[in-house]
Every structure is written in C-alpha cells, then in structure tokens.
C-alpha cells in the first residue's frame, strides 16, 4: 500500500516557490545542504524534500507539512492568536515588538505554530505544527496557547493529538513566561490522557531546549525523522562550557533511538503509513481513566 504524501504532491509543488533556506542556483536546481550535490527541483519535491542522492531530510515549513494529511481536510483553528511583547524586551537587535513585525512580514505568519484538525485515512486528529522559519520556532505565549488549545480540543473531541516539533527552545524575549509554557502544555496533556487519547510527537530537525525537555518527550509515541538534530543543550554550548569533544552522530534521531529516548526513526516517505497504523490501533481507545475522572468530577461537585 503506497500511502506516502502522494495525494497532496500538488500542494507541495504549489508551495515550493516559497521554500527558503536552500540555495537555489537557478529555478530548476537545488543544492542539497548535506551532500552539496545539485538536485533537480522537481525530483526533490516529488521526493518530499528528501535529497534523492544522500537521503538528507530538508526542513519543511508548517504549510508544507499539511500535505501529509488527507487533501483538503485541514481546518485551521486559533489562527487569530498574535504575539505581544509582555516584557517590553529590548536587545541590541532592537525591540521584540519590532522583531515580531519584521518576522511576520517575512514569513506571513503571526507566530511559529499552526494548529487545527485534519484527517489521515479518514481518521480525524488534532494537530499543531512548528515552523522553524519563525524565530527558530521558539516557544512563547502564542506557541504555548496554541499547543494547549490543540490538546484541549483533542480531549474535548476524543481524538488523538499529533504535534510536529522543531524548535530552538524557549523564546528568550518572553522571559520566564516562555519557560512556563513547558509546564502549561504538559499540564494540558493530562486532560488528553484522562480521555484515553494519545499524543503522538514527531521530532524534526532541529529540536532543542525547553521544547525537547517538555511535552514531546513524554508523548505516547515519539517518532523522529532520520538525521534530525535533537537534544537538550546545544552542541556548541556543551563544547564551550563543558569542553567536551562530541562524537559524530551525537544528538541525532539515531542517537536518541539508541539511548532509548524515542520509539522510532521514520523516513518522511513512511510517516503517513506509520501514523495511519497508529490511528487505527487507537480507534477503540476509550479509557480506563474516563470512568475514574467522571466519578471524581461528580464527587467534587463539578457536575
């Protein structure tokens, strides 16, 4: 059964002109950032932006990820959540407020996450997808609120939650509010657990800091893309501060699998099949917890 992103290749092609971060010698060819080979652009996009020469998984924008779901099934929620500058943060780069406006103009997104519901093989799931091009998909208030609403929506609808995670960590410009989003999102996931629905986390390149160290690392199924850089502390920080030499392959998806931190490393072309299988297995998931919750809600007088 071929169930790649195939159905939605067209939306991939439609968006390829917007892809950024990959050097394009001309309109037809793209240089792979890993193997430096020139790849015919159409071939690259037909291959879901995985280099046909070296298998390097190039980064996808949040909109490009939507091609993984049943065509036309995505409904966006909470698209009207916009960031503000809660601390009045200023650094030599200017104010956070200015940086937000500039980034919003460049990316045409209000912040780093898009969320909503979509279907895979006719099964509905809630989702939230990070976009690394928006300030390194750093986690601030909007990121946290969207993730929380996605989790609460999944709980209310009794459907699974898929998060596609890529981030540099907490957003410095929102200070300790950003840090607290780690707890806020994790807290919301307890509501999903109560109704017996799974959180499936996909880790894509790169995923670091407060994001890796919170909700994705306690997901029910943790999947990573091949070669994705995943860790807590950045490699440069470790090398500078602790002065340790880091081996090749350190903090990759394969490293995480080897050390028992994730369930599987899945090539992009197989993701839809794997997710579809997981959703089938959770089809009848109600929950042992639900009865318990219901009883405790009654006894606490909430109903």
């Amino acid at each position: 059964m071929k169930e790649f992103f195939r159905r939605s290749k067209k939306s991939f092609s439609a968006e390829q002109s917007q892809s950024r971060g990959t050097s394009v010698p001309d309109d037809m060819w793209v240089k792979c950032p890993a193997c430096r080979e020139l790849v015919y652009k159409k071939e690259l996009h037909d291959n879901l932006k995985v280099c046909p020469k070296c298998d390097h998984h190039m980064r996808l924008s949040s909109r490009e990820w939507l091609a993984m779901f049943d065509a036309g099934s995505f409904v966006e929620y909470d698209g009207d959540l916009w960031p503000i500058d809660p601390l009045g943060f200023t650094s030599p780069d200017g104010t956070y407020a200015e940086k937000l406006v500039k980034t919003q103009e460049r990316t045409e997104m209000p912040d780093a996450v898009i969320s909503g519901v979509a279907r895979i093989e006719e099964r509905t799931l809630a989702l939230a997808i990070c976009d690394f091009s928006f300030m390194g998909a750093s986690m601030g208030s909007v990121y946290g609120e969207k993730m929380v609403r996605a989790a609460e929506r999944a709980a209310a609808m009794g459907i699974p939650l898929l998060t596609i995670n890529s981030s540099g960590g907490a957003r410095q410009q929102e200070g300790v509010i950003a840090l607290m989003q780690m707890a806020k999102i994790t807290m919301a996931l307890t509501r999903l657990a109560e109704v017996g629905q799974p959180h499936i986390a996909l880790l894509v390149d790169p995923c670091y800091g407060g994001v890796t160290a919170s909700y994705p690392s306690v997901a029910d199924i943790i999947i990573a893309e091949p070669g994705a850089n995943i860790g807590f502390a950045g490699k440069r920080l470790i090398e500078q501060i602790v002065r340790q030499k880091l081996p090749a392959g350190f903090q990759t998806a394969e490293f995480m699998l080897e050390h028992g931190m994730i369930d599987m490393v899945t090539p992009r072309g197989d993701l839809r099949t794997v997710l579809s299988r997981a959703l089938r297995l959770y089809k009848h998931s109600s929950s042992a917890f639900r009865v318990h919750t219901f009883v405790s809600d009654i006894s606490s007088g909430r109903y």
Binding site: T90, I177, L179, M180, A183, V218, S296, S300
Partner: protein, 287 residues
C-alpha cells in the same frame, strides 16, 4: 507585607540580585531542611542509574507533619561545589526527585521543593542519559501529582533545570532570588553576542521576585533579613518557614480534586497574547 530589609534594598539592580542569589553564604536547600524540619531522613538514588548529589531529598517532619522535601543542592566552597556539581543535576537527579514525588503521593505527604540551580547540567553524559526526558517526566509528574506541592525559590531559578521541580500549587520566592528562562550570561551571549552584557540581559529578562509576582508566576515574595539571606541565615530560614507553615495549612484544607483543578487553572493562565478576532469584534462593538 512585613518587610525587614533596609531601604537601600529597593535600589538593587537585577544584576545585584543575581549576585545575592548566587552568594556562597546564602542558605541552601539542606540548610532550610535542617533549619525547618525534624527527623530528616535523606533518601538517595533514582533506582535507575545513580545518586545525584546536586539534588537532595527525603522525608522529614515539618510543623508536626510528615512531608517530602526535594531541592537542588549547591556547595559552600569549591570542594563541596565540585561534589554537588554547583547544583546542576544530571538526569538521575531529576529521576530521584520524580521518585520522591511519587513517594509523597503514595503516602499522602505534601511536597516542599526548594529551587536553587543555575541550570540542568549541559554535558555529553546528561544528553546520553536523557536530560530532556528526565525533566519532561518530572514536569508531567508534578502536573498530575495527587498531593499538595509548594515550591520555594531560594536562590537561582535557572531555566528548565529549575522548572523541573517547581511545578506547584504555590510558588514562593525570596526577594533576592531570581528565576529566568536562561542565565543572564547565556541570554547575553545569544542576543547581545557577548556574555559580559549579562547585567543588561538581567534587566531586560525581568527575572526578579517583583517581576515574577507582576507576571503572575509566583504567589508571594518572601522578605529576606537585612541586605540578604546570606547575612543572617537563621532569620531567612525562619521567615520562609513561617509562610510555608501557613500555606501548607491552607492547601491541606482543599480536596485533592480542587487542588488539581486549581493547579491546572494556574498554569493554563500563564501567557500573554492577542486574539485578533476578539479585538476586531470589540472594535466593531465599541467604535
């Protein structure tokens, strides 16, 4: 609030507070446990890999009732700091804390946690043993733990390494303690590209107790004696102890279900953003 400090306290910059929060003579977790509790039994090890001296905990009697105490532990001199890794836990430290949280839940003991760390340790071994997983599991456990938790920030609240043991029903913060998304040095090296700009970063990041109270993250600022807890440990410990006694008595009057509901609401509310649709609606209704 009963302020016992001197007037010049008010003029301290955030960077001054960072220095006070890191002062070696400041009372650390074990000083608070020993000063406030009787019959302390330290419990060691995560039952998975090892025992992390940067995280301490155990059973103790506080105000006549058994509690589980957990906290980061810094050293008072270089030798002890090497042993304690400057209060920076490895995954086994967080897994020890997690074990003690579950332990508290099993026996219905409240948890008192003490926050005092620059960060979770960033090294190769920590990554290999799953620092991310250890912190995430600890946060999740605190989110759903069916027993009261009171966290006290007694020095440095450094990033995820601090958050990992501070998800709580109530968070108290001493007036010279700091709590931040990253150390001011780290933030300065990222955004100023110069770690010597840490004093500027410390100001911009809003890391003081007053900031955290304004931002709705901590519940109360705990005054310190004179010009800081390091000048009079005994008083600092006693002042915090008094508030802990009152708050503990309060949280114990709540049912566990109410407590968990309030904990959910407390964290659910953290964050500041706009809802554009709502703004447009308001503008249309009130031109």
């Amino acid at each position: 609030m009963d302020r016992t400090h001197q007037p010049d306290q008010q003029s301290l910059t955030p960077w001054d507070r960072v220095q006070l929060a890191r002062h070696q003579q400041r009372p650390h977790t074990l000083d608070y446990i020993q000063g406030l509790c009787e019959d302390f039994i330290e419990l060691h090890g995560d039952r998975r890999f090892g025992d992390d001296p940067a995280m301490v905990g155990g059973l103790a009697s506080f105000d006549g009732q058994t509690v589980v105490v957990v906290g980061h532990q810094k050293g008072r001199d270089t030798r002890e700091n090497v042993k304690r890794n400057f209060g920076m836990p490895h995954p086994e430290g967080y897994r020890k804390a997690l074990r003690l949280f579950r332990y508290a839940e099993k026996f219905g003991f409240p948890v008192l946690s003490f926050i005092d760390t620059p960060a979770a340790n960033p090294d190769k071994e920590a990554e290999e043993r799953g620092q991310s997983n250890a912190i995430a599991e600890s946060i999740l456990t605190m989110c759903e733990l069916r027993t009261p938790i009171i966290a006290s920030v007694i020095g440095e609240g450094g990033s995820g390494g601090a958050l990992a043991i501070s998800v709580a029903d109530l968070i108290l913060m001493q007036e010279n303690a700091v709590y931040s998304v990253a150390s001011p040095e780290a933030c300065a090296s990222i955004l100023w590209r110069d770690s010597s700009k840490a004093p500027e970063a410390a100001l911009a990041m809003r890391i003081t107790a007053t900031d955290l109270l304004d931002l709705g993250i901590v519940d109360e600022i705990i005054p310190e004696p004179e010009i800081g807890a390091h000048t009079d440990s005994e008083s600092a410990i006693a002042i915090l102890g008094e508030r802990l006694r009152e708050y503990l008595a309060y949280v114990r009057t709540l049912s566990i279900d109410d407590l968990l509901e309030q904990r959910y609401i407390k964290y659910r509310a953290i964050g500041q953003y706009q809802e554009r649709a709502q703004l447009a609606l308001d503008a249309a209704l009130h031109p």
